[in-house]
Symmetry: C2
Subunit: 319 residues, 2 copies
């Protein structure tokens, strides 16, 4: 099968690899996959990953120990837990210390014709959703995880920092949930997408004051945390959605003095995201507005190059 | 009156200053005051403070707009809010952006014969409490603030990092509250005090694993946060009690990936601390075990020098 591959020299490169053996798991034929910023980071050495990247997909089950899945259109949770630890027992495979992660950690991903995942990770996609919508289930789950880690209370003022894909989806999730967020970013054309959805926006440089109840940091910038701390009110909350490799650029003394709560939030679960599509549509959100381009899997190297260009949002790969 | 004073050259120096005018507030004759690490930091330039330091005290009201306070033995909340903002309206004067802070910010402190505070900041000290106990009300309030910001749930495992005064008092508060904390530190003689109170202790270098539900960082060390993040379980909580001037020494990426919550916690309110003395005593905690030495106010310069020595816990000043 065709697959993109990351090796010591970075990559990706297009390779012809054997189709994975099921080994008790399910095999999915990929219908459509997305390129995430994490995939770009992997090509730059993040996680020391070697193998097939890609974790956003919609596909069709071609082999499965659970026969009811055969032939179904599915999306898949990316964390595969050990099944035996406290985290797994609590339904938190995504926090299992021995987990593998699709296309990120000890498990080949979906930028290929086929991929393998435990059958339990797969979720049936409702017929009403197009492939182009369903491929956003994973990043949407990450967006909704913001609300899992910090529920919105009536009357609170939420600010989302960063108008990349994640910031836009977090703002969309909050908007559909009725939290009326303000999205701050640096790119007029990206903010325009959010406004089309009915989300209020502002240019980041126009922000000031320390008045926000909750600031969701999605900018991924080195100074993202200190910027969020400068905008949140005393006793407020900063939700950190993006990882930054180095230490923050500022002391956390202010978080102590002002009793700020900083909440890390990452991957979410799929059922909430899959169930959210009607509410998103009703709120005016079309996730497909985030699609910048689609490439054939055979043109995957060019697709990665395109995804890395400034101003580009979602680039899709179709096997 | 006698007063210690911090000026451009550091200090403190002993000065003869006029007794403060009441100006609508209360005047307290200081009976006993404590030296806090913050006071030592002020002599090294923290907050750019100039004036009389000191915020831990028990005293007697000698002037007050509220006549019922006259002659009473009191302790005093250290934050004086503007009275007109949202934080003050919510009873959070300690988060008022225009507040003054006793001996720390725009308000002279209690390392003097007399000091001024709003009458509303003062709390009557029960007769059962000695001055030597009551002078710990402020640091105890800060310790109990840990539980205000993050209540302990049954069965949770709490770890306190740092065996300084604050770490010992946080461990004492958790112990009296039934949370059965483990206190980790580097000083056998300080850990011995906690054990005398019935608190379990461990040498910090013996800690490992990422299994604690809540880690309370009281070490004040530059690597305190990264150490706490290395010990807390995924989805667990780190409570930051101590401020560190510089940026953390590690990325917060792990806090995002493992969905850690980091909670800043600082000053607390006095009623809970005052009400806690019987529970502390019943649990075996004697806060007076923390007293290393007592000096006359006239020997305040020597008292500060002593307080800065390694291994020293609380140094008291008696006017």
């Amino acid at each position: 099968m065709r697959a993109l591959s990351i090796d010591e020299t970075g990559g990706p490169v297009l390779r012809d690899l054997p189709r994975p053996d099921a080994n008790g798991e399910a095999i999915v034929r990929v219908r459509l996959a997305g390129i995430c910023n994490t995939d770009l980071e992997l090509t730059r050495g993040y996680m020391g990953f070697r193998g097939v990247p890609g974790h956003e997909f919609v596909g069709e089950v071609v082999e499965s120990p659970d026969a009811t899945l055969l032939g179904r259109r599915v999306v898949g949770e990316i964390n595969a837990g050990c099944g035996g630890c406290d985290a797994c027992a609590a339904g938190l495979a995504r926090h299992c210390q021995r987990r593998s992660v699709l296309g990120i950690l000890n498990r080949n991903g979906v930028h290929a014709d086929c991929a393998r995942l435990p059958a339990g990770n797969l979720h049936h996609v409702p017929d009403a959703l197009s492939d182009e919508e369903a491929v956003f289930t994973e990043p949407l789950a990450a967006a909704y995880e913001t609300l899992e880690m910090r529920a919105a209370a009536p009357g609170e003022q939420w600010l989302v920092l960063g108008d990349g894909k994640l910031g836009l989806l977090v703002a969309a999730a909050l908007h559909a949930d009725g939290a009326a967020p303000l999205l701050a970013g640096r790119h007029a054309e990206k903010l325009a997408i959010a406004r089309r959805w009915g989300v209020q926006t502002v240019l980041a440089e126009a922000l000031d004051g320390r008045r926000w109840d909750v600031v969701v940091e999605c900018s991924g910038a080195t100074n993202g945390l200190s910027r969020a701390l400068a905008l949140v009110r005393p006793r407020g909350t900063v939700v950190l959605k993006t990882t930054v490799a180095g230490p923050p650029d500022a002391s956390l003394a202010q978080a102590v003095i002002d009793e700020i709560t900083i909440v890390g939030s990452r991957c979410g679960v799929f059922p909430r995201a899959l169930a959210a599509f009607p509410a998103l549509a009703a709120a005016g959100v079309r996730v497909t507005d985030l699609i910048t381009a689609e490439f054939s899997l055979s043109d995957g190297v060019a697709a990665y190059a395109r995804a890395a260009e400034p101003g580009v949002l979602k680039v899709l790969l179709r096997p």
